[in-house]
C-alpha cells in the first residue's frame, strides 16, 4: 500500500486576515500557520491505514520553505517521508499539476487530501488531480475503509450520505469524522527530524488564472437590539424593514 497525503499550509482558523502591498499579498505578520484542518483528517486516516495495511506514506506540500515546520509535524504524526515542491502557487490548477506530476512517477494506491484548503476554499484540487491522472476522485469523504484493492467510501451528499465501493487507485478529498486528529508524540517528533524531506522544483504550467487584488468585506452596521419582552416585534421588522420574510 502506497499512500500520498497532500497538505496545505494555511492561517489558523482564528487568524485575522489582512493584506499588504496594495492589497496584492496576504499579510503573514503575526499569523500562525497550520496544516489545513481537512488535510489533518486525511493525514490521520492515512496513518491509520498504513498501520493496518503496511506500506508507506508520503506527505506532499506544494509551497515555500516556511511550510517546513508543518511538514515536519506531518512526519512526526506518522508519514515516512516528505516532498516539497518549491513554488509559490497561484491557483488550484498549478497545485494539481504538481501533485499529478509527482503521483505519475510513484504509483500511489491512495492520494488523500482535505476536501478544501481553508485559505482559498476552492475544493477542486482532488478533482483536477484525479482527472489529470485519469483515475476517479471523490469528495467529501467521511469514512474510508480498505479491503484488498477496494475502498469503501462514505461521502456526504446534499442532505445525507452515500456509500460507494470503488477499486484503487483513488484520489479522495477528506473531512471529519474520517479519523481523529493525531497529536505527535515525543518519539515521533524525534524521528521526524531525520526523516527525508525532499525539495523538488515545480514542473512548468501555463498561467490559467492570476490573482489581482484582495479585499476585505465592508464592515457590518450596528446590530439592532430588541427587548426580549417584545420579541414578537422582530418578525414584523424582518418583514417590513429587512424584507427577508
Amino acid at each position: 500500500m502506497k499512500i500520498l497525503v497532500c497538505i496545505t499550509n494555511v492561517p489558523d482558523t482564528t487568524a485575522k486576515i489582512s493584506f499588504t502591498d496594495n492589497d496584492t499579498k496576504l499579510n503573514k505578520n503575526g499569523v500562525q500557520f497550520i496544516i489545513g484542518p481537512y488535510d489533518d483528517y486525511a493525514l490521520a486516516r492515512g496513518v491509520e491505514l498504513k498501520e493496518q495495511n503496511g506500506g508507506s506514506l508520503t506527505v506532499l506540500h506544494v509551497g515555500e520553505a516556511d511550510a517546513e515546520p508543518q511538514i515536519r509535524k506531518a512526519l512526526a504524526i506518522g508519514a515516512d517521508d516528505a516532498i516539497r515542491v518549491n513554488a509559490d502557487p497561484q491557483d488550484s490548477y498549478f497545485v494539481a499539476a504538481q501533485i499529478a506530476h509527482i503521483a505519475s512517477q510513484n504509483n500511489y494506491d491512495l492520494i488523500l487530501m482535505g476536501r478544501e484548503s481553508i485559505d482559498y476554499n476552492s475544493g477542486v484540487v482532488h478533482g483536477l488531480v484525479g482527472e489529470m491522472l485519469g483515475i476517479p476522485s471523490y469528495s467529501p469523504v467521511m469514512k474510508l475503509d480498505l479491503d484488498g484493492s477496494n475502498a469503501t467510501i462514505t461521502r456526504e451528499i446534499d442532505g445525507g450520505k452515500e456509500i460507494l465501493k470503488a477499486p484503487l487507485p483513488l484520489v479522495l478529498g477528506c473531512q471529519e469524522p474520517i479519523a481523529e486528529w493525531k497529536i505527535p508524540n515525543m518519539r515521533g517528533i524525534m524521528t521526524a527530524r531525520t526523516k527525508p524531506l525532499n525539495v523538488v522544483e515545480p514542473v512548468s504550467v501555463d498561467d490559467m488564472t492570476v490573482p489581482q487584488t484582495y479585499q476585505l468585506p465592508a464592515p457590518k452596521g450596528a446590530c439592532k437590539m430588541i427587548p426580549a419582552s417584545e420579541a414578537e416585534t422582530l418578525i414584523k421588522l424582518l418583514q417590513t424593514e429587512a424584507k427577508v420574510l
Binding site: T13, T14, I17, P37, S92, Y93, A96, I118, N121, S122, V124, V125, G127, L128, G130, E131, G134, P136, S137, S139, P140, M142, T152, I153, E156, I157, D158, G159, G160, K161, E162, I163, L164, K165, P167, Q175, E176, P177, D206, M208, T209, V210, P211, Q212, Y214, Q215, L216, P217, K220, C223, M225, A228, A231, E232, L234, I235, L238, A242, V244, L245
Partner: protein, 324 residues
Amino acid sequence: MSVLIYVELDNGSIKKTSLEAVAYGAKVAEKTSGQAVALALGKAENTELEKAGRYGAAKVLHAADAKLEHENSLAYADALVQAAAQEGSKIIILPKSGLGDAMAARAAAKLKAGIVSGVTALPETDGGFKVTRSIFTGKAFATTEIKSDVKVLVVRKNAVEIDEAGLTGGNAAVEAFQPALRDSDFTASVVSVEKADSELSLTEAEIIVSGGRGMKGPEHWQPLIDLAKALGAATGCSKPVSDLDWRPHHEHIGQTGIKVAPNLYIACGISGAIQHLAGVNGSKCIVVINKDPEAPFFKAADYGIVGDVFDVLPKLTEAAKSLK
C-alpha cells in the same frame, strides 16, 4: 459563442441555486454577446426544464440516460465537456456545491481551462476576464483574472440579484442530448444512499434557524423546530452541537462544516465563535438570540435579542404563524 450552465436536479426539479446559476450565465452571455445554454442530467419533465428559459437560458440540453440517474461527478463531467464541445462554449458555469466543484474540476482538467470556485459577482470583461470570489471562508475576497481560452466558474448563491417578478424570459426549448458514456466513469458501485427527503437542504434554504449549546440538549430542540416550520426554514447547528451528537453532522454550519448564504439566518444560543461566523457570513440578514449580551455573535448580527431562547422562540413562532 455560448455560455454553458450546468443545472443540478433534485428529484426531477431544478435546484434554486441552479436557476440562479442560469440567471448568472445569461448575464455573462449578454456581456460576451453569446447565448446561454443549460445542461441537465438525469430524469426530469420538459415542463420543469423549460423553466430555465425564464432565467435567461435559450435552450436546455437534456441527457435522460438511465445511467445518469444517480449523481456521478465523473460521468457528469464527461457529459459537460461533450456539451461544451457541441455548443462551442468557452465559458462554463456551475452552481457551488460538492457536485458542482467536483464536475468543474474534472471538466477544467479535461479542457485545460482556468477554474475559479466561489465566485460572488458577475465578471468584469473590459480588459481581461476578471472574477471576484470569496476566500478565507468569507473573511475576504479575491479578484482573479482568468487567462485561459476556456473558463470554468463555480458560482456561489446570491452572486447575482434576481428580481423574480421582473423575469422576462419565456420557456426554453428542450433538446435531447446523448453524451458518449465511458465505462471508466462507472467503476464504483453505489452500496447505499441515505437522504432525508423531507428536510430542506441547508445550501438551498432561504431561511435557516440554527441552534448552539445554549439549547441545552437534543431534547430541547422542539421550540427551534417549531419556529423553523412556521417560517418554512431549514434547521442547522453549531459544531459543538454536532460533535456532541445532539444533531446530525450534515446540519453542522461553520468553517469545517457547511457554508450557507440564506436571506435570513436565526442563531439560537450560539455564541458566535469565528469558525461558526465563517460559515454564515454570506447571509443577507442575521438574527442572534442569546442570553449573554457579550456573545461575540451580536457584533456580526443585524438584529439581536438578549434573552432566554426558550422564552423568545415560542413568541417568534406565534408571530410567524400569524404572518400567513
